[in-house]
């Protein structure tokens, strides 16, 4: 029987034994194509008959508005920002992710704690501290890391409307103009994600390949994982997949 664990600290008041779904994380920096691949994967899995839900950063009921307000004014200190993101994550974990897993859904997550840890470290947070903060998070079934180098992001960013203040790390002393700061900031974020990829054993996909190639590979790996673990769930003789046939 599969079982969810956290990265250390227990989640107050949650029984992890009852969670039967799958938690699949898509990680990658800004502009790596996460949204595209999450959307494709969602419809492919739905087509196979799985119940699929999704969530992503700053989509909580509790904190999304507050974070947006704080970003507009650039008015929060960096520890406070890190903890505000952690609040948003915790709210989504408890009120979106855990209930979906309890109901047996495949929960696709457009970025997880790792991006938040990377952005915090780049902004000067102590790596041990920020990992400790997120130690209540669930270990996902798999993390797919859409990997790209900072210079390869540039055409994508230009095509989607230009450089964003935060995605260019303009709150940091990273360079005098948006382009220079963007390259420096994104390179640092990618460096941190690479290091987290080693530490937490992400499955890395090179997203400079054609989008269909990446999405076929992603689908192949996710569906394999779901099938393998569905077979292991002897308490559920009729997997969602077959109900659909």
């Amino acid at each position: 029987m599969r079982k969810f664990e956290t990265y250390g600290r227990t989640l107050p008041g949650s029984n992890l034994e009852e969670l039967s779904g799958w938690l699949i994380v898509i990680e990658g920096t800004d502009g790596a194509g996460r949204t595209t691949h999450v959307n494709r994967l969602k419809s492919q899995l739905a087509h196979l008959g799985y119940a699929v839900a999704e969530t992503g950063l700053t989509r909580s009921d509790l904190a999304s508005k507050g974070i947006r307000r704080a970003k507009e004014g650039n008015t929060l200190g960096s520890d406070a920002f890190n903890l505000f993101y952690a609040t948003d994550f915790a709210d989504r974990l408890e009120r979106q992710i855990v209930p979906a897993l309890r109901a047996g859904f495949v929960m696709l997550t457009d970025r997880y704690t790792y991006s938040l840890i990377a952005r915090a470290i780049v902004r000067g947070a102590d790596p041990d501290w920020i990992k400790q903060v997120y130690s209540f998070s669930l270990k996902p079934d798999a993390v797919f890391y859409l990997r790209i180098e900072a210079p390869d992001l540039v055409p994508r960013v230009l095509a989607s409307g230009g450089f964003d203040y935060w995605e260019s790390g303009m709150d940091l002393p990273m360079g005098s103009d948006l382009y220079e700061s963007f390259i420096n900031y994104q390179s640092r974020v990618i460096e941190e994600l690479d290091s987290l990829a080693r530490e937490f054993q992400f499955e890395t996909l090179d997203v400079t390949q054609p989008v269909d190639t990446v999405s076929d590979e992603l689908f192949r790996r996710v569906s394999q994982l779901l099938e393998a673990s569905t077979r292991g769930r002897d308490d559920e003789p009729t997997p969602a997949k077959e109900r659909c046939l």
Binding site: G13, A63, G66, L76, G77
Partner: protein, 249 residues
Amino acid sequence: MIESYTNGDGDGLVRADPASYGSHPNHYPGRLFIVEGIDGSGKSTQLSLLADWLRSEGYPVLFSEWNSSPIVKQTTSRGKKKMLLSPLTFSLIHATDFADRMEREVLPALKAGACVLADRYVYTAFARDVTRGVDPAWVRSLYRFAVTPTQTFYFRVPLEVALRRILAGRPRLKYYEAGMDMGLAADIQQSYRQFQSRILDEYENLVREFGLGVMDATKPVETQQRILRRAIEPHLVGLRRDRGLYEEV
């Protein structure tokens, strides 16, 4: 049931951990004084009397109040009003507020050599969050960035005395304040009593763990104030002051 602290060592004690609260000593010229205690312990009254006295002596004073960051508190009150907060998010949103005040109020004032007075500090979070079931070691590491105070005064008061002070005014108790989220009792006053009683127990653990100074909060107001001033006086030596500052007041 509240579990006692363990850090995996089995002796019931949390060790001073470099990755935990207590690893950011006050290296700054200013001083940081804290009052802690349950509602109705009289700590806020004492702190405001202390502030008046310090000002009259010419010391620059900065007040930092729990849950008062202008950006974060909107989210906190939204979460409370709509009952969105779990023990975990309750803990995190208060830590967010605290971090913002630490970076934008407390640290600059300490660097400037002020007397910073805080009504509630990390110990409030430790007491409340652990009472709500949050892991004690985790919440201590969450507040690692907090500066260790020059001195903390825990206002110890018997539960019935504090309850009488609070409940005598027939207050409209709020949901989280009364610990209604814990499902201790259906009646809000009953829940408030039980919740405060558990927090009181938790504070006693903190007094031992962090060696907090204890104030007998059943003593007359002026006696407490005298004790408080006498206790902080030695820490004021060498602080910048300006006797001309407040003469008009």
